[in-house]
């Protein structure tokens, strides 16, 4: 399973044409204590870099952008009652949605782990 990142700090882990999507540990740390995650609706069709959902902390709110285009086939309902999971495990248990990837060639628009680490250093 490979992981890719966007400049807006979302990640996607790809396996068998399905992408699990979330926000990076860096993003979760920057937001501080997360108080709310607005998940996409099941079955929603999202476009790469289009709005997938949103996330709020006490002092900030930001949109979550879809790293890949496709149809939302699963959402992490646990986050609705326990948004702090994103702080505790942003790149694992804090996943937000599964997207049935429409076009895997879009992955070339994203950063690899190594590229993302360099990108964070450049900020």
């Amino acid at each position: 399973m490979s992981i890719y990142f966007t400049k807006e700090h979302e990640w996607v882990k790809v396996k068998d044409g399905i992408g699990a999507v979330g926000i990076s540990e860096h993003a979760a740390h920057e937001l501080g204590d997360i108080t709310f995650v607005e998940l996409p609706k099941m079955g929603a069709v999202v476009k790469q870099f289009g709005v997938l959902g949103s996330i709020e902390s006490v002092k900030a709110a930001s949109d979550i952008f879809a790293p890949v285009s496709g149809k939302v086939i699963k959402v992490n309902e646990a986050l609705e009652v326990a948004p702090e999971i994103v702080n505790e495990s942003a790149e694992d248990a804090g996943w937000m949605a599964w997207v049935e990837i429409a076009d895997e060639s879009e992955l070339k628009n994203l950063m690899t782990q190594e590229q993302y680490d360099d990108y964070l250093k450049s900020l």
Partner: protein, 482 residues
């Protein structure tokens, strides 16, 4: 402190109602009635008085503490203004809307009309509507007027954007969004205002308006403001003036002369009406001639004999933005303030507001980073970046000030300054009060180096220490169950 509901005793009464002098009416059908009385407090008058008196003592306020909250103009609120506003308590607004009713309301309508004239002179506008109920409400009304103006020229579909600088108040884009516009945000240049080149690049014929605060939220007067308005007008975009910082420039420069077409004024900031713990405010909107046909209704007009009338039928109007004539009680205070201070007084207000801000800026710039080191207007913006090197944030300095009896300056705004500390002393503070504040700010800077933990622990002298805001946001207990 207990909630008033926790002090309740069933059956206790706080007030005696007038006895009925008419027969009791037949009961309503039970389907229309509530099952049980609403669970309001049941306390004696004395318990009620103690409760709210003691609650009030848990507040800092202008009358008890220096309150240099940047962008909010927390000046002293003259007591006579309260007395003046209470004179108007008995007048029903519907009286003026009855047929022939204006005859009975010439005083109140006349005051609103006169206030409009005075504000028009101060701001260089042609007419003012007093209907908007607060600054943000004025912004929304103003941008709706812009929209109506473009629509009347057949350009409604073409005009899609409102341009704002990145230092703008959040209400600017939020108000423009209600009026149906998308937002273009222009970054700030090194000289502390909207970057002129990036602004030029952003401007097209699709822009409906440019919203500016001038002086801006960094407390700086934009030297390019005339050029900006000329460029905007060349694209048939209107210039919107956010009047939040009008206190700096009364009698010195009029927004209308600089090219602004529509403006709102925050009476609770510039014109000395109390902030009320977060309202009521009042946000009259001034416009240039071209926008008069779209003003909200009812519009107060004067006939040839000096009689005040209400215009209620006008095809072009944006409609109505509030139920009646605006926050009249607030406007009565602002009107009294303006006529009391008069021409020379208002000029002096702006001069001393600017003098005070520059004095504090000079005294503190050795201790705090000043990202835009130049003459400021009525407020100055520091950054706690030096203190951050010791792990101390702007919020820690704010909490330290609370322990010393000062309401903190605005922190973390404008967002373009990291760890911003925005200080607006206003003209009503004496030199002695400011010197004492400066001493405490210096002490905070020194403590940030010598004992940062002390700042992290503050405040220690208040009824409560720092609160868990995350818990509040996650649990959302916004009403006492029971």
């Amino acid at each position: 402190m207990q909630l008033i509901y926790e002090k309740s005793t069933p059956g206790r009464r706080g007030i005696k109602l007038p006895a009925s002098d008419v027969p009791a009416a037949a009961a309503l059908p039970s389907a229309l009635l509530r099952k049980e009385n609403a669970g309001l407090a049941e306390v004696s008058e004395l318990d009620l008085v103690r409760h709210f008196t003691n609650l009030s003592r848990r507040n800092f306020s202008v009358d008890t503490n220096f309150y240099p909250l940047g962008s909010c103009t927390m000046k002293y609120n003259a007591k006579v203004l309260e007395n003046a506003a209470s004179l108007f308590a008995p007048f029903h607004p519907m009286t003026a809307l009855l047929p022939g009713g204006v005859e009975f309301c010439q005083g109140t309508l006349g005051m609103l009309y006169d206030l409009g004239q005075l504000l028009a002179d101060i701001t260089g506008m042609d007419e003012v509507t007093t209907q908007p109920l607060a600054g943000a409400h004025g912004e929304m009304t103003g941008i709706m007027l812009v929209s109506a103006y473009h629509a009347a020229k057949g350009n409604k579909a073409k005009k899609k954007y409102v341009v704002v600088p990145d230092s703008s108040h959040g209400t600017n884009p939020a108000s423009a969004a209600i009026a149906g516009y998308e937002i273009i945000t222009v970054p700030t240049a090194s000289y502390g205002d909207m970057d002129l080149e990036l602004f030029k690049a952003a401007m097209t014929d699709e822009v409906a308006a440019v919203m500016m605060t001038c002086p801006n939220t960094l407390g700086l007067f934009n030297p390019h403001i005339k050029e900006i308005s000329d460029i905007a007008h060349s694209h048939d975009a209107l210039m919107y003036y956010d009047g939040a910082n009008l206190n700096a420039i009364m009698g010195k420069v009029k927004p209308g002369d600089v090219g602004f077409d529509v403006i709102h004024v925050n009476l609770h900031k510039t014109f000395g009406t109390p902030h009320g713990g977060g309202g009521p405010g009042s946000g009259p909107v001034g416009v240039k001639k071209a926008l008069i046909p779209f003003l909200p209704q009812p519009r107060i007009v004067m006939d040839a004999d000096g009689k005040l009338l209400l215009e209620t039928e006008n095809k072009g109007t944006i409609g109505r933005t509030a139920n009646f004539f605006g926050n009249f009680g607030v406007m009565a205070k602002a009107y009294a303030y303006i006529i009391m201070l008069g021409r020379e007084g208002l000029i002096q207000v702006s001069e001393q507001a600017v003098l005070n801000a520059n004095y504090i800026k000079e005294k503190l710039k050795a201790y705090y980073d000043l990202p835009y080191d130049m003459i400021c207007m009525h407020e100055c913006v520091f950054s706690a970046s030096k203190q951050l090197e010791h792990g101390v944030h702007a919020i820690d300095i704010a909490k330290f000030l609370i322990d010393k009896g000062y309401h903190p300056p605005t922190v973390y705004f404008p967002m373009i300054v990291k760890e911003a500390i925005m200080i607006e002393p206003t003209e009503t503070e004496s030199k002695g009060a400011m010197d004492a504040f400066i001493e405490v700010m210096i002490e905070a800077a020194q403590t940030a180096i010598s004992n940062p933990q002390a700042l992290h622990d503050a405040p220690l002298t208040m009824p409560i220490s720092r609160l868990d805001e995350t818990k509040a946001a996650r649990e959302q207990n916004v009403c006492c169950i029971g």
